[in-house]
């Protein structure tokens, strides 16, 4: 059954058609003038319009145009006579019928056209549905990949709302979340402005919704009109939503964080939501659950880390302050004892001299412990300043030997050296090296009985040749390349196998009664280990009870890569203390271009390289720069400038490129060693 409009002046024909059509149970309407036809179409759209082209009294073309403006869904059948009709009119017709058409033909033409029309309509609507589903799927896909890209809870919620807006085009959405336990926020995303009374209504509704989710005494967080904060995102400010929006179709779902409550969202749309819409809505709300859990775990870890870092810093500061405070009274005691011992206050008896000396010896020992503590806290806080230079081991060794010779002689110990190499440079801080060596040798002296022997050896080794007890695996496994190895061998009391792994632990020896007898802070070896670590070296030992011990340490030999890595480590550590970013820029190319870049004073001016290291490989084809103490911007800027320069001369030097650049701020990484490792790998890659 269809609605058919017949437009004709011919009353006889109109009557005839009405009879035929109504007999076949179609609804029949007619119009005999232009105005009536227009009025009719305005009122409702017929399925079929039959236009009598014999009509003389009005403009058929205009009527046809009007019909078409209501859409292609109206079928047009032209009733034609002998004469030709205008082309434009004929083109728009779905069928033509002769004036003297039989009733059967009229009905069958109408039915055939109606069937086609219905099929087309069905096709088009299923096509539309398909397109919408595809679009929703696409939005779902995009949204979930966006979820994976962030660990920020607020951002996750924003992404979810965005996704819902894209897939469901809502007019208004209200999402409730708790930024912290007592900070509930209602995030309103709206097409138009929200009237004041609507806002009040939405707040009330939110509270009701919230309370309806839980049993009365199981409500997790406090929520009321006073503490509920509002965050509005308005798309168009020229219009305003009022109460009418509450009559829109709406959907509601709680948002969970893993199994726990996180918040909820309610969306409103003027047109009704379909089942597919509801599925899409639920899916998005469920998809955000897991990322929210990850984000919350991440937040917790971050907080714990910050707390730990703060504690670590406090500890270092505490030690540093206490040590400084201790030094002043200690100085006063020492001064007083010195004055007494100098004899300027009068002669001392032997017993007095003995006891004052005892007091002085212990003051000196106490100062030593304070110095050790200070050193350790400084290294741990990354505040120790190292002065790395190409150094040779022999002068350091000679100095330490000379200063300890007296003590060794007193104990009738023989101090021997066995130097296999004294020409190779190491990249080290000579003063710290001296500290390590002093520690090891004075330990050897302390623990070796009278008449024993101490032998100090040096030689160049390859990391692969080094043999060590497996308990030192973690210290030594990362070594590679050539090292200077120093060994201190004694014929002392030795260390039990069980204790071997703990000799470099802080305060380990304080528990040892022997150590108490021979004095010392028990911090010498931990400090030595930290210092070796700072040199990218390693320290370990081997020992046999009653026979003696050998302590070894290795320091990388001075060469481009080793020196660069050490400087890099220092820079990153210092940046961490100062919280400023570090950038590394590597350029690989012919020797000439490296020279040219270095000569371009405007390119790499002093501002950028204030605290940075420039390292050139021996064959001068790689230039590595560490930029620190600036901001990320200055590193980026320098990189762009270099890229521009290289581009401008690429005709002359086609093989030059910025191979790698890495800008990082210390906050980006909770583990600086991880960071150093990353940069090291990239450094090694570019050079191979």
């Amino acid at each position: 059954m269809a609605k058919v409009l017949f437009v004709s002046e011919d009353m006889k024909k109109t009557k005839q058609f009405k009879e035929i059509l109504e007999k076949n149970s179609h609804e029949f309407f007619s119009a005999d003038n232009q105005l009536a036809a227009f009025d009719f179409i305005k009122g409702f759209t017929p399925d079929i319009i039959i236009l009598d082209t014999q009509v003389k009294g009005f403009d058929l073309k205009a009527v046809n145009k009007k019909i078409k403006s209501y859409g292609d869904n109206v079928l047009t059948i032209l009733l034609v006579g002998e004469e030709t009709i205008e082309q434009e009119l004929s083109k728009s017709a779905n069928a033509f019928l002769q004036e003297a058409v039989s009733g059967d033909l009229l009905i069958s033409t109408i039915n055939a056209n109606l069937r086609t029309k219905n099929s087309l309509e069905m096709l088009s609507s299923s096509n539309q549905e398909l397109a919408r589903s595809l679009y929703q799927l696409n939005v779902l896909y995009n949204t979930s990949s966006q979820f994976a890209g962030t660990l920020d809870k607020n951002r996750l919620l924003d992404i979810m709302v965005e996704g819902m807006d894209k897939s469901l085009s809502f007019g208004l959405s209200c999402a409730l979340t708790f930024r912290s336990e007592n900070e509930p926020v209602l995030i309103i995303t709206s097409l138009y402005q929200i009237s004041d009374r609507l806002l009040e209504a939405l707040k009330l509704r939110t509270i009701l919704n919230y309370k309806s989710l839980f049993k009365k005494n199981e409500i997790p967080f406090e929520l009321n009109l006073e503490n509920l904060k509002i965050e509005k995102h308005i798309k168009q400010s020229n219009k305003e939503f009022d109460f009418s929006v509450l009559r829109y179709d709406n959907m509601f779902t709680p948002i969970n964080m893993s199994e726990n409550f996180f918040g909820f969202i309610e969306i409103y749309r003027e047109s009704e939501f379909t089942t597919e819409d509801a599925t899409c809505f639920q899916t998005l709300a469920q998809q955000v659950s897991l990322p929210l859990k990850s984000a919350s775990l991440y937040e917790e870890i971050k907080k714990t880390n910050q707390k730990l870092e703060r504690l670590e810093r406090l500890k270092s500061e505490f030690i540093s302050i206490v040590s400084h405070e201790l030094r002043t009274p200690l100085t006063a005691i020492k001064n007083a004892l010195d004055i007494l011992l100098s004899g300027k206050t009068g002669a001392l008896t032997e017993a007095m001299d003995n006891f004052i000396n005892m007091a002085k010896r212990n003051v000196v020992r106490l100062s030593g412990i304070i110095n050790d503590l200070l050193d350790l806290s400084k290294i741990e806080a990354g505040k120790m300043d190292f002065k790395f230079l190409n150094t040779k081991i022999e002068p350091v060794l000679e100095y330490v030997k000379t200063s300890l010779n007296e003590v060794a002689k007193e104990k009738k110990l023989v101090l021997k050296t066995k130097i296999e190499d004294n020409s190779t440079d190491i990249y080290a801080d000579a003063q710290r090296l001296e500290q390590v060596l002093t520690n090891l040798i004075s330990n050897a002296i302390k623990f070796t009985p009278e008449g024993g022997e101490i032998e100090i050896g040096t030689k160049i080794v390859d990391a692969k040749e080094i043999k060590y007890n497996s308990i030192f695996e973690s210290e030594l496994k990362n070594l590679s390349g050539k090292y200077l190895m120093v060994s201190v061998k004694d014929t002392g009391i030795g260390i039990a196998q069980d204790d071997l792994g703990h000799v470099f632990d802080q305060f380990a020896q304080i528990e040892n009664s022997l150590s108490r007898k021979v004095g010392g802070s028990g911090l010498g070896l931990p400090i030595a280990r930290q210092l070796m670590d700072a040199h990218n070296g390693a320290i370990w030992c081997e020992s046999e009870l009653e026979k003696g011990s050998v302590f070894y340490f290795v320091i990388p030999v001075a060469e481009g890569k080793n020196n660069f890595l050490l400087n890099l480590k220092q820079t990153i550590q210092k940046s961490k203390v100062k919280n400023s970013p570090v950038a590394i820029i590597n350029i690989k190319g012919e020797k000439e271009i490296i020279d040219r870049i270095l000569e371009e004073k405007n390119l790499i001016n002093k501002n950028y390289l204030n605290n940075s290291v420039i390292e050139i490989e021996d064959n001068s084809t790689v230039l590595s720069m560490i930029i620190s103490d600036g901001d990320k911007f200055s590193a980026d800027f320098l990189k762009k400038k270099l890229q521009g320069y290289i581009h401008s001369i690429s005709g002359i030097y086609p093989n030059c490129a910025i191979m790698y650049s890495y800008a990082v701020s210390p906050q980006d990484s909770t583990d600086e060693w991880e960071l150093i490792k990353k940069v090291q790998e990239s450094y090694v890659n570019i050079r191979e």
Binding site: E325, R327, T328, D338, K344
Partner: protein
Amino acid sequence: MQKKVLIVDDEQDIVESLKFVLEASNFDCYCAYNGEEGLKMAKEVSPDLIILDVMMPKINGYKICRLLKYDNKYKNIPILMVTARSQDEDRLIGEETGVDEYITKPFELDEIVKKVEGYLNK
């Protein structure tokens, strides 16, 4: 004539021991126990040498040092800076302000006497 040494330190015990050993080595000692007093005395007494502590209330050692070293009248007086700090950056500040010598606590009294003698008994 005895050479005049001004000792400025808020730790009275340190001042006393320094005074004792320096007087034993025939120096004329003047003592001040805070920065303000120290600066005032430096101008009144015109000492031949000043032993100055860094950490003092009101005016710290660096400030006194700077004030004296930038004054033509006093800039030639040698200043020995005594501090419990040993950080390198402190040394840098010291160099900037014109400190002549740096002595870190705990120090040897003999060492200080030798240093003072080095400056004054040329």
